[in-house]
Amino acid sequence: MHARPRVSAVLLGIALLLPAVGAAAEAEAKLAPEALLRHIDEKMSFASDYKGVVRMFETKKDGTKRALEVNVYRREKTRELLFVSTQPAHLAGQGYLRIGRNLWEYDPGTGAWRRTTQRTNVLTTFACETDFDRSRLAEDYTAAEEGQESVSGVAYRKLLLTAKDPNGTVPFALLRLWVDPQNNIVKRVGYAPSGKPLRTDIVRSYQRFKDPVSQQQVLHYREVLETDEQQGSQMLVRYEEVELAPLDANIFTKAWLESRMR
């Protein structure tokens, strides 16, 4: 065997192995299912108050299109949450306010609040309360390993999550997650207790922020494609204009939202 081809073969081998070594270095350690849920929750939670704008573009099966803009306010340490639609005009002011274990729905047309038990199909779309909340997978679900699935050459870890309290406030009794080697959720399918798929989400991108309170890097959704499996509607959701600064002390009150309305 000549020396030149041998050197070439070694170089080629190194060149081929390099990306794998790099990927291995980037890939996070394999965690037990429950630990993985905690890990995801932690890296997606802000210690700071949160304000963001969520823009949604929904296409229904019959081709009808709708666009919505929602302002989201969150104080994660006290579980308080307020999200309110600001556009389009005929839905402006429709809001949801969570105080303790109550979720209040505000109708700007009547000026009435109602305590709702409905955690799905909010804002006249198939969006859920959890879409605007922080990740709380470990609190709400138990997880079981389901092996791996390769899609387009990438191996994803699959987990089946079962709600700890199916009658509680979780939108889906069962949840299946596809997690990439960096322990980020890539795909998420929510099921009814019967196992019927209700919603499929594909997380297309994340954005990373430095939390001004904890000084930690926090991962936040940037673009998610959501599909309602029952109605066939699809919704592109973008999380934008994030503000990690202290919110108004009275923001999580009914009076605050009522006073925002001109």
Partner: protein
Amino acid sequence: MTLWWLTLQGVVSRPRSWVVGFLAAGAAALLTPGASLMRSIHDGTRRSLIESGAGDLQVYVASSPESPSVVPGPGGVPELVPMPDYAVAESSLRALPGVRDVVPLELGMGSTFRGNSLDDKLAVLRAASRAPASAERDARLRRLGEDLRRTLEGVARDSRRRTEAFVDDPVDADDLSALRAASMPAFWAHFTESPQDVLEVLENKVARQAGEGEELSVDYLGTDLPRFARAFPRFELVTGQLPPAGARGLLMGQATYEQSFKLPIAARLDELNRERERGATFAEDERLRTLVTRNTEEIPDLLARLDVERATALQAALARVLGGDGELPALLARFLALDDANFDARYGQFYAELAPHLPLYRLRPGDTLVLRNPLEQGPAIPMRLWGTFRFQGLGGDDGRANAVSLVDLVSARQLSGRLTRAQNAETQQLLETFGMQKDEALGRQSLDAFQPPEVVEGEARTTSSGTQLSFRGARAPPDTFTEDELNHGSAMHAAVLLAPGASAEELAPRIAALPGEVELASVGWQEAGGILAGLVGMTQVVLSLFALLLALFVALVSAGTLLLLARQRVGEVGTLRALGMQRSEVFASLLLEGLLLGGAGSVVGALVGAGLLRVWTGQGIAIQNSALQFFLGGPVLRPELMPSATAVVVLGVTAVVVLSALVPAWRGSSVAPGVAMRRSED
């Protein structure tokens, strides 16, 4: 002629063969009134549906995935493509010969939310607190606050009992202590100064402990209300009034009003009364006793909904009726302890003495309710209840036909979540502002091919932008609409009513051939009746199966009897054959015997059946059951004897007997003369 004579002689001389005739008569006697009854059910349901919203034809856009219905089925509301401009479609339909009227329709499954007893009182309190500060406002707040505090005392007592019976969830402990504190006068000391703070505590920590509230179903037909009332002759206003032209609002089906909006205790008393009228007793029927128990369990909720004045008046009325004093809960419990001996008197006393002091209905004509269509994800729309209605003769206040409500078409369109042209234009503008036009062009995205998500470095503001959220909140739609809004919007389907003598079958192809923006199609009352008309089909199938089984029974017994008779007549057949009678003539004679028995029997049977029908029905049969009233077209059943159906029964039964005589005739005629004569000698 000889053949007929021989056949007649054979039948008369063998009484055993008459069994076949009797069988045919019995079958015809049953099937003749059965066929009339089946026809009555068909005609009755047809009349009921046509006169209560279905019309003779329902017209819709031909490219719709499903066809229209006037009642929600098990699968909900049919999926239809809307007619983009209803006025255009209506004028084309009206131009067709034979069309008497056209009424726009849109079926929807609506609901309205009702909070628990505390939610209701807190909503009143919050509304009062929004009034400008004044001595009157403070006085009203104090009065309402004191009333609520008394209610909370009751809720706290109940929760204490529950705590003793069940282990408390530690999460509830905080809420429980808030409830107990709120029932004390000290909690209310500064209520008039800062009502919002008090309300926040009550709404978030206390109210939930009285239950979650409930969604009440209000299935509706969106339509032009005055025109609907004119077009369908069974429409009858029970309470309130018809909305004036151009007014938004709701006319509630009387059955929904009675079942969902009446005080539950009163609704159960009505149900008990209906059951007892049908002959049920407390002693024998467990269901009746369960209703009584449920009424007793409902007392705390009723008490929580009463204000001080009503509670005092009710207590006095109860003391008068029962002849003794006591606390209100104890008096109510005594009054509602019902049995066969006291029910009739108590039922009368309830409406005469107690009802004036009770909130008998949650909603009265003139009140507003907030309606939404959760399935279509449309907005919530406040709507005035103008009145309640029923369809005459189609069941009482518990009937399915009277459960559907009517709303104006303009509100129905909004409830459906369908966007107007202006809203569609706004969507396009928003997509541009959001920078999402590119995504719009991509269409539906695949869920199977995905990649690891991209992670980008984000930039968040870490100091408050200082800009306060401020926007123009969506307004409730106005109370009125213009003629143009009503007619020049979309409609999902339309009921077409025919002029006398016009035929739905002839009109349907003309509707399909109408030129216009969209191609139209139509279905008849049977399809538009959905689940209601489907039951007619089921009845027809059941009766047809019964007729088939009866025919099989008649055929088997007739064949057996005639076969036995043919064997007994082997000798006679041999003699006839020896005298020169052909085999075919013997076969024909035996077959004629079947024809004679079957024909005579079925004619006699049909006459008996017709007589029975006349005797049974007389001036008509009164129908008490609401569901049956709908299927039979009204409260009185008058089945008519139909000559065509009777002829079919006679011919059918005769044919069955003749067919069953084929084998015995063939076997009887196939014996050789010599063999037959030998057997006869043996």
